[in-house]
Subunit: 353 residues, 2 copies
């Protein structure tokens, strides 16, 4: 067995050149100078291993591309669902989708949040290793390299739902056609006769908000309308940002007659800004959201929005991660985008004369 | 060891008269005519036990009031959270509260729903026995006798949050002061000058909706106003019910000038009914909700409502269930009600002249 580079914790081991998954647990143990049961303890996330030993074993597992065999036999009937933050009814739609599939498969869902960090903490990864779920679904939350290596060595498959950043070509992910949704929302406003259309994007580090904004720009360009950078604000997908940026846009002397709000919560913030300024929707201002949360048809007036099939996306992610665990993979699609669709309600109309 | 009655699956074993928890696993095994490891398998929810054997062992565990000892050592770092249904942002507030406590304690949350049934299915109970969580929190969802016995014999503590029915004096539960909330909401409307006040309750089988409606009636009675049964409708806590019953109430020739809507979602349904009939809020109609979900301050006009501290209640439930697992219990309070409070926004005003 050719020893890979494992000089220390700062070493960046070369990707194993031998075909992945060929090192045995006994070989890893011999290489690390520990017993096979100790390697097994590390794989099972047990606490009773010295930190230095654990680090050495993890490095070797990673360097040799070790993959646990017969993982299916030892799996718990669980799916892990990890959120970046548990805030809106957005999250509830996703939970329901994963629950639906889990329920069909006799599995339970373990819920956690990465608490505002974009990757879940190390403790979380250890807990996952210890409980050995059928798979992990990450929502707007990425894994760092060592966490990926940890899941891979335990043969725990994972899928990213609506990734915040570019998850990399080799990471299976489920998204929605965000670009096309932004295009459809803005075209709808242009067809109604609007020419000054504002936009409030989500966080620019999230690919989904970039894609929606690019769709907005594409609709303007293909209609021969200028995209005025003064009419574009950058929010964080929360109500408060929609309200604040909405006020800024609507107080301008040359205020827009329509706003593509980036998501439903920001659209409700724009509603509040319009109320405060005495602007009627849709007579004085048209507003389009994104997501189609349940609240979109409860508000007054009911919100025109781009429907993102969140529950179906979550179901697709759950099915994909279970498929990955069953097949010897490689044949499973790594990126699926489910279609968005424009839902026209009462918050959009012709611009004021 | 005195054998209790265990004539068959239809037998209703007498409650054990000997002090609970004194039978050993070996005694149960001898009584059942099986080996101790078989009893252990049943306790651990393992699938490889014949159904008839499992039933006989469960009956004996229950009849002798067996309680697993040293359960702490074998617990998984999990809390089970069971919903009646995963529908509204109501559920999200509860999830966040339990997540907060779980995160502090290094535990993960397993989420399940009883899918419209009021008690979770048998499979669920087996899964819980197999995964050995630190405790179980049931939301608007009760356990039947055999499920209670199953958790008790495994020494898995449980707490009911905002129980749908009377959970029984010996079941630890966390609620809110629903009666007082209904009283405060209705008194607020009376103080504004309303005398014809409608009410939309939740399902009558839920104690929380009965309590809210009784608070409404108490406010009317103590103010010397009649409670007109024609102005009281019974919903299901969803938007649609608020809309439908709202339309019925508001189409009456002697329509109410104010509605206590039972919860926020039903209040938004009343908003929609009022819009449809061209009634302005609060000029023509005052509306009060219950819960104070995030959406209550996003709608137009922002909703006056009774704040139920859902997240704090969920935190209290999580702490209580962990305390129950640590202490030898008996000293822990079995029913706690957290205070509700009226939040006055813009949906209430004086009645039309």
């Amino acid at each position: 067995m050719t020893p890979p580079k494992t000089a220390g914790t700062n070493a960046n081991p070369q990707p194993a050149t031998r075909s992945s998954g060929t090192a045995t647990l006994a070989e890893i143990a011999r290489e690390a100078g520990v017993s096979a049961p100790t390697v097994s303890k590390v794989l099972n996330g047990r606490a009773d291993v010295a930190p230095a030993t654990r680090t050495r074993v993890e490095e070797l597992l990673r360097a040799y591309g070790y993959r646990r065999r017969r993982a299916e036999a030892t799996r718990s009937p669980l799916i892990d669902l990890v959120f970046h933050e548990l805030e809106s009814s957005w999250a509830m739609e996703v939970i329901r989708g994963v629950e639906n599939v889990a329920c069909d498969e006799g599995l339970s869902v373990v819920l956690s949040q990465s608490a505002g960090r974009l990757t879940p903490g190390r403790t979380w990864a250890d807990q996952v290793a210890a409980r050995r779920p059928h798979g992990v679904i990450l929502v707007l939350s990425g894994l760092d390299e060592s966490q990926r290596a940890l899941l891979t060595s335990r043969s725990i498959p994972f899928v990213v739902l609506d990734p915040a950043g570019d998850p990399g070509d080799d990471v299976p992910s489920i998204g929605a056609t965000n670009w096309h949704g932004g295009l459809a929302a803005t075209r709808h406003l242009i067809e109604l006769g609007h020419t000054r259309i504002g936009a409030i994007s989500g966080p620019t580090r999230m690919m989904c908000s970039r894609a929606r904004l690019d769709g907005y720009r594409a609709a303007l360009e293909t209609a021969g309308l200028p995209a005025d950078p003064q009419l574009i604000g950058s929010g964080d997908f929360h109500h408060e940002a929609g309200y604040r940026i909405g006020l800024d846009l609507l107080r301008r002397p040359d205020r827009p007659t329509a706003v593509f709000a980036g998501n439903d919560l920001q659209a409700l913030g724009v509603y509040e800004a319009a109320r405060e300024l005495g602007l009627r929707i849709p007579e004085d201002l048209s507003v389009v959201g994104f997501d189609d949360l349940p609240v979109a048809h409860w508000v007054g007036p009911p919100l025109t929005t781009v429907r993102q099939p969140l529950m179906e996306m979550a179901e697709a992610a759950a099915r994909l991660v279970l498929d990955l665990g069953r097949s010897s993979s490689a044949t499973v699609a790594t990126r699926v985008e489910l279609a968005t669709s424009l839902v026209v309600r009462s918050s959009t109309g012709a611009p004021p004369a």
